[in-house]
């Protein structure tokens, strides 16, 4: 992974010819989901008929609270098991029950809404943990430092470069627990890059981050795409979505209700319904409201 990589090396498909309907097909999907259902008792938390995620795009997953976005994320990343459904990741159909560690090794890495920094490990150790296939992570070689020292040195060099790119090199030897909320988000993102992912899934990367840091975080998300990765992120803030997303998928009550470019989505009547309450055009009820109750939602 070099810093000289340019966008030309990873041509992005234009969004114009893609049909803006739920479950529309994409020219080169890295992820394809079919008939995915997750039920909690009588509640269908996730019920996705068909979804394709285009390679090298930044796809935003939005929706009101309780729409099932995080559950959907958990299902895709192996932290939860669906009742039904298939996932095809980069051409391979995943088994129904798949472990998060296996997916991470296959190139699908995620971050968490509530940041999971390893608080009592230094920042640099957090970073080094991300690398796959470390000889020193096996029990017997671990005992003999010469067996893993050279790999460790190259991992450390790479981690230092990445920390510098995320402007966190001054925090290198601090415990991750001493970082601010925003810095932890940065660390988690940087750490996930150490796994050499093809698909990066960010669960609310901007939540609780101050505006100054938001810009830098957004820059890094765009940077992931420029390095050839595909990004899916969950977000509430439409401004953020407008700024960086190539494509937007909208969930409500567990289903995909709309797909499209950010501009198209912000004008979509179904989406406005979902955010403002689906039944606000129910005229029978409206007539019973007092005429002067204009501000009522």
């Amino acid at each position: 992974m070099t810093d000289t990589t340019t966008t030309e090396e990873y041509p992005r498909e234009p969004t114009d010819p893609i049909e803006a309907t739920p479950g529309s097909s994409k020219p080169d999907p890295i992820l394809r989901v079919d008939g995915m259902v997750r039920q909690f008792g009588g509640l269908k938390a996730v019920d996705v008929d068909h979804l394709e995620i285009q390679r090298h795009w930044i796809t935003a997953l939005i929706g009101p609270n309780g729409a099932g976005k995080t559950t959907f994320f958990n299902l895709l990343t192996g932290f939860d098991t669906p009742n039904a459904g298939t996932v095809v990741f980069d051409g391979d159909t995943l088994p129904k029950r798949v472990s998060p560690n296996q997916l991470a090794r296959d190139g699908m890495v995620r971050t968490f809404q509530l940041t999971k920094s390893l608080t009592r490990l230094p920042v640099i150790e957090n970073m080094k943990l991300g690398v796959k296939e470390q000889l020193g992570e096996h029990f017997l070689p671990a005992l003999f430092k010469p067996a893993w020292a050279s790999q460790e040195a190259s991992i450390e060099e790479r981690a230092d470069k990445l920390l510098a790119r995320f402007k966190m090199d001054h925090m290198r030897d601090e415990f991750a627990g001493t970082l601010s909320g925003g810095q932890r988000k940065l660390l988690e993102m940087a750490r996930s890059l150490m796994t050499d992912p093809r698909l990066v899934m960010l669960d609310e990367p901007m939540a609780g981050v101050n505006p100054a840091l938001t810009q830098s975080l957004l820059g890094h998300v765009v940077g992931l795409r420029d390095l050839g990765m595909t990004v899916i992120f969950v977000e509430h803030d439409m401004d953020v979505v407008h700024e960086i997303a190539d494509w937007v998928v909208v969930m409500a009550e567990g289903q995909i209700i709309a797909e499209g470019t950010p501009d198209a989505i912000s004008k979509n009547a179904k989406v406005i319904d979902a955010y403002l309450g689906a039944h606000h055009d129910d005229t029978d009820d409206d007539t019973e409201l007092p005429a002067d109750d204009g501000g009522h939602l």
Partner: protein, 331 residues
């Protein structure tokens, strides 16, 4: 008061075979709790199963000493697998409950009347340690030591072997914990899901940790039974687990040398409070009614408990711990 005797007793207690046993067991517990975050409240169960593994294989099957020791340690591996397979996929508190129950099941099974012919019932297993003492370079009838701290030959042999093992397992754990393997364990301690999201098979690593710490605990049990020349079921009762926890916390959780230091300190403090109390009674400062009968033994644990509470209040990180680091755990 005779300060000479009080300090001599404290030194003998601090470097006794029991202290070595607790130090070794605490190293195992440190692997579990200090580095992996596994709550093991049944460390004494690993000690018991290994001690019985040695005792039974020698007395029932005439196994040579070296083979018996290997069988004892393998018994600890089997116990770790039995405990780990169903619980390590669950939250850490499940392991805590299962381990404390298992340690009692082991003790009560081995001391049961039905198995008397095999495991000796409540009398335990005797006369199996001769093969071990045959290797002793010390003369059992001679005294060894420094100044007025003297022990008999067999005692000296088990003390030397016990403390050598304590240092060896400490070095082993140090080698492991500075490696990327140790880094994975610590990451699981901090946040298991984060480790899994980065491709680490947390279950597999937790199992390795449980087995390693369990085997070290088993080693402690073997040293204890060989030192006492008997496997007594009631020497493996739950309070032992909690004394080992005490030693570990005293030294500082997740620190390399804290098990050894904590165990020495624990046994010295026990001896000091006991002897000081007796001394104070003798010179009339403390009324003799306080320590009369069985009370004396209880009072010293009351004092040790009080001391621990003060330690938790003023130095919760233990002697070697870092308070700032510890406080991060809750953030």
């Amino acid at each position: 008061m005779d300060w000479d005797i009080i300090f001599r007793n404290a030194i003998i207690a601090g470097f006794s075979r029991e202290a070595a046993v607790y130090a070794i067991a605490a190293v195992g517990l440190n692997v579990h709790f200090g580095y992996t975050g596994l709550l093991n409240f049944g460390q004494v169960g690993f000690m018991a199963i290994s001690a019985y593994g040695v005792g039974i294989s020698i007395t029932q099957y005439n196994a040579p000493v070296w083979l018996a020791f290997i069988i004892g340690l393998l018994a600890a591996v089997v116990l770790a697998l039995l405990l780990g397979v169903p619980t390590l996929r669950l939250r850490s508190d499940y392991l805590a409950i299962v381990t404390i129950a298992a340690s009692e099941i082991i003790r009560l099974t081995f001391r049961s009347v039905a198995l008397t012919d095999w495991s000796g019932g409540s009398n335990g297993i005797n006369g199996f340690a001769d093969g071990y003492y045959r290797f002793s370079p010390f003369d059992p009838s001679q005294r060894y030591g420094f100044g007025n701290v003297q022990v008999f030959g067999n005692q000296a042999w088990i003390i030397v072997v016990g403390w050598t093992l304590a240092i060896l397992v400490t070095v082993l754990v140090w080698l492991l914990m500075r490696s990327p393997w140790g880094r994975v364990l610590k990451s699981i301690r901090e946040d298991e899901d984060a480790a899994r999201a980065l491709g680490k098979n947390a279950y597999f690593y937790k199992m390795q940790s449980l087995i390693l710490g369990g085997m070290i605990g088993g080693l402690a049990g073997i040293v204890l039974s060989v030192g006492q020349q008997t496997v007594q079921p009631d020497a493996y009762s739950p309070p032992v687990t909690f004394f080992i926890w005490t030693a570990l916390i005293l030294g500082g959780v997740g620190r390399i040398w804290s098990p050894i230091f904590g165990s020495i300190a624990f046994w010295m403090i026990l001896s000091l409070t006991n002897n000081l109390l007796d001394g104070l009674v003798n010179v009339g400062i403390v009324p003799s009614a306080v320590t009369a009968g069985v009370r004396g033994g209880s009072i010293r644990f009351v004092l040790v408990g009080l001391g621990l509470m003060l330690l938790m209040a003023f130095r919760p990180q233990g002697v070697f711990g870092d308070r700032n680091e510890m406080m991060l755990a809750d953030r």
